[in-house]
């Protein structure tokens, strides 16, 4: 395989050389700091490079979109973060954003406009589907996933919140894998348990953890790979697999990682 030199230009560098990217890759806090999700960020950047997409990131100029604060009821912190992000995005004249986090996606897409930030925002599942459809990412001839059973866990902020159900499934179908659905999927998809600020606190008393309830359903499909499209779902599903002591037989991957694997990146 020919050596690819991966580039990750920042908006500041682009601006300095008077260039405009096709799209801004919004990395998000999990994609920047969480060890597991950093691998997803890297996988997605490799795909963008190999597809020849002219993209940029904000680097250290990016801040949390404010989603966890807003869902937890702290509107002040949300709006402070949102306003300063909008200032940065508008300073660079950003028009189009892609992000691997459904929470960032929802906030940037639906909640920034009312605060004055108007961008075309895509989730990476939608963007990957576009790249595949346009022939910029080619997956044919790959044997990596042939005969493998993959189940897709819908993220609430992608699915019910924004009605994106098919894009991630199209990406998985392009892998030539055997896609199996859980009983609760699409509009009926069961939450992983992390949204609405739950990621940042212990669950309230109950008889079971939500991610365990969900992982039992996922494992029940007989899939050896659980595909996710959200950093929080990634944490919850990975913990669920550990809880069931299935780390050897069941793997949790993000869509971008699966595409990168199929392409040998």
């Amino acid at each position: 395989m020919s050596e690819i030199t991966y580039k990750v230009p920042t908006m500041a560098e682009m601006a300095a050389s008077n260039e405009t990217p096709e799209v801004l890759f919004w990395v998000g806090c999990a994609g920047s700091f969480d060890d597991r999700y950093k691998k997803v960020t890297v996988a997605f950047v490799k795909i963008l490079n190999s597809a020849g997409v002219k993209f940029a990131v904000l680097g250290t100029e990016e801040s949390c979109t404010g989603d966890p604060a807003r869902r937890a009821g702290n509107e002040f912190t949300f709006q402070m973060l949102a306003m300063s992000n909008i200032q940065v995005l508008d300073m660079y004249g950003v028009k189009k954003i892609v992000t691997a986090c459904p929470h960032c996606f929802n906030t940037l897409k639906n909640e920034y406009p009312e605060l004055g930030g108007n961008y075309q925002v895509l989730h990476h599942s939608e963007y990957l589907q576009q790249l595949i459809d346009a022939g910029r990412v080619r997956l044919e001839g790959g044997e990596v996933f042939k005969g493998k059973k993959i189940t897709f866990h819908d993220s609430c902020y992608l699915g019910r919140a924004n009605d994106v159900y098919e894009a991630p499934r199209h990406v998985l179908e392009a892998l030539d894998a055997d896609l199996v659905e859980m009983k609760r999927s699409r509009t009926k998809g069961l939450c992983c348990g992390a949204g609405g600020g739950q990621m940042f606190k212990e669950p309230e008393p109950g008889k079971k953890d939500i991610n365990v309830e969900r992982i039992e359903e996922a494992i029940g499909t007989g899939a050896d790979t659980i595909a996710v499209a959200c950093p929080f779902c990634m944490v919850m599903m990975t913990d669920g697999v550990k809880n069931k002591e299935k780390e050897q037989s069941v793997k949790v991957y993000d869509l971008a990682e699966l595409v990168a694997q199929a392409k040998g990146l």
């Binding site: 990750v8 700091f33 801040s63 002040f76 924004n162 069961l190 940042f200 939500i210």
Partner: protein
């Protein structure tokens, strides 16, 4: 005799109209206690949603068999109202089956059709009662869902019994009527046998005319008075959904489900803090952030509460509830309605003025533990057949707890602090945000 019946009927009709007017005014006034929320945009789209979801019951068909049975009751209810019109006219004018002679043979067909619907309602209600009491559908059981204890459980069963009794009355009335026709009794014009009640008629064979008249009159009065009582009853019951489903779906949110409503009063503050706007003299500081009581919610949240028929589809889909947490979206709606009715009663007792009773929606009705368990996954919003949004209420209550009372779980306060100082929910330095790039092998220092 006829004139006495007419007078009694007019009195009953007047009493029912007065009670219904008073109750509907009460409901309307309490809904109007809610805050403004403009839901008048895009009337065409809204009308389409109402036609599909309320009129066409689209979401009920998620479960096809139950959807079909529910549709049978609904269609029966709407169409049998045409017969009620005849009964009311007969009652006022002292006539009997006033539509029979102008409609001719079509009349028999029409009554037959209504009987078919009535039979459908009867069967569906019996099945629903069995589902509640024998099969014990989980989402309807008080043993599993504490909000169903007492009145809500009884209410659910009473409505079904009411409907079954009313349908039996209408069929008995028609059978007795038909038997009287066969005897050639005066005042009972020939219409021919009716589709369903002809099977009940043999019970009445051989009875003298006078007994049959008593049975027919009793069934007639029992049926129409039953309808009157039921009409008032439903305004106090979860059954109010049959009316409110229509406005409630019309005024439903059109934005993507993931979008939370902005708080413009905070936007001004933030703009001033960031130096984007100078201190404006006319900025109004709200009396309260978020919602503590029902009067802090919007009128649509309150209409949602009255529209809830406690079917529990929301709760059955709620990940928190499924895993044994205290949160139940249905309880959020029921508590909101209970609180609103309490507030309304206090106002009624005090000449329209609310006298504080040291209670509030959050704390006395809904517990903090409940709203903290929500993952904002929108499953409850997705499930509701009449487009109620429990999540919107939960989030407004959270805003109050966190911003007004500064009561957030310790780990959330940590998260807020990290966001304020590091612009990330975890304790990482903002300067390290781009370090992930080191994970890229073969990375060239850019350009």
């Amino acid at each position: 005799m006829a004139i006495i019946q007419q007078i009694l009927f007019l009195v009953a009709l007047g009493v029912v109209a007065w009670l219904a007017f008073r109750r509907v005014s009460f409901i309307r006034n309490t809904i109007m206690l809610g805050k403004d929320d403009d839901r008048k945009d895009q009337p065409g789209r809204r009308f389409g949603i109402m036609m599909r979801v309320a009129f066409g019951q689209k979401k009920m068909f998620d479960r096809p068999l139950i959807g079909f049975l529910h549709f049978a009751v609904y269609a029966g209810f709407i169409l049998i109202n045409i017969e009620i019109l005849e009964i009311v006219l007969d009652g006022i004018l002292g006539t009997h089956r006033i539509f029979a002679s102008p409609l001719g043979s079509f009349y028999s067909f029409l009554i037959g059709f209504f009987e078919f619907l009535a039979f459908g309602v009867l069967i569906a209600c019996v099945i629903f009662l069995i589902r509640r009491s024998v099969w014990k559908v989980e989402r309807l059981q008080p043993s599993r869902h504490r909000e169903m204890n007492g009145w809500p459980e009884l209410d659910g069963k009473l409505i079904l019994v009411f409907e079954i009794v009313l349908m039996v009355a209408i069929l008995t009335m028609n059978a007795a009527d038909s038997a009287l026709q066969d005897l050639g009794s005066a005042h009972y014009p020939k219409t021919g046998d009716f589709l369903i009640s002809q099977w009940i008629k043999p019970i009445f064979s051989g009875m003298p005319e006078s007994t049959l008249i008593i049975i027919e009159r009793f069934a007639w009065w029992f049926h129409i008075l039953g309808i009157f009582v039921f009409a008032i009853y439903l305004t106090y019951s979860k059954h109010l959904h049959i009316a409110l489903a229509f406005p409630n779906t019309y005024f439903a949110r059109l934005e993507p489900k993931g979008e939370m409503k902005n708080m413009p009063e905070i936007t001004n503050e933030v703009k001033i803090m960031l130096g984007l706007e100078s201190q404006a003299g006319d900025s109004v500081v709200p009396e309260r952030f978020g919602a503590k009581d029902v009067t802090d919610l919007t009128w649509k949240n309150l209409m949602d509460a009255y529209s809830c028929t406690e079917c529990g589809r929301c709760t059955a889909a709620c990940p928190a509830n499924i895993t044994g947490k205290k949160l139940s979206p249905r309880k959020i709606m029921m508590d909101t309605r209970d609180r609103l009715e309490d507030v309304g009663r206090i106002m009624q007792a005090n000449k329209g003025q609310f006298v504080p009773d040291n209670k509030s929606l959050i704390g006395d009705y809904i517990l903090e533990e409940e709203i903290l368990a929500c993952t904002t996954c929108n499953a409850c919003v997705q499930e509701c057949p009449v487009l109620i949004n429990p999540l919107d209420i939960i989030l407004q209550l959270r805003r109050h707890k966190v911003m007004d009372e500064s009561q957030a779980p310790g780990s959330w306060n940590m998260m807020f602090q990290n966001l304020d100082t590091n612009q990330a929910p975890w304790k990482f330095s903002p300067g390290d945000r781009f370090n992930w790039v080191e994970g890229l092998e073969n990375k060239s220092a850019n350009s």
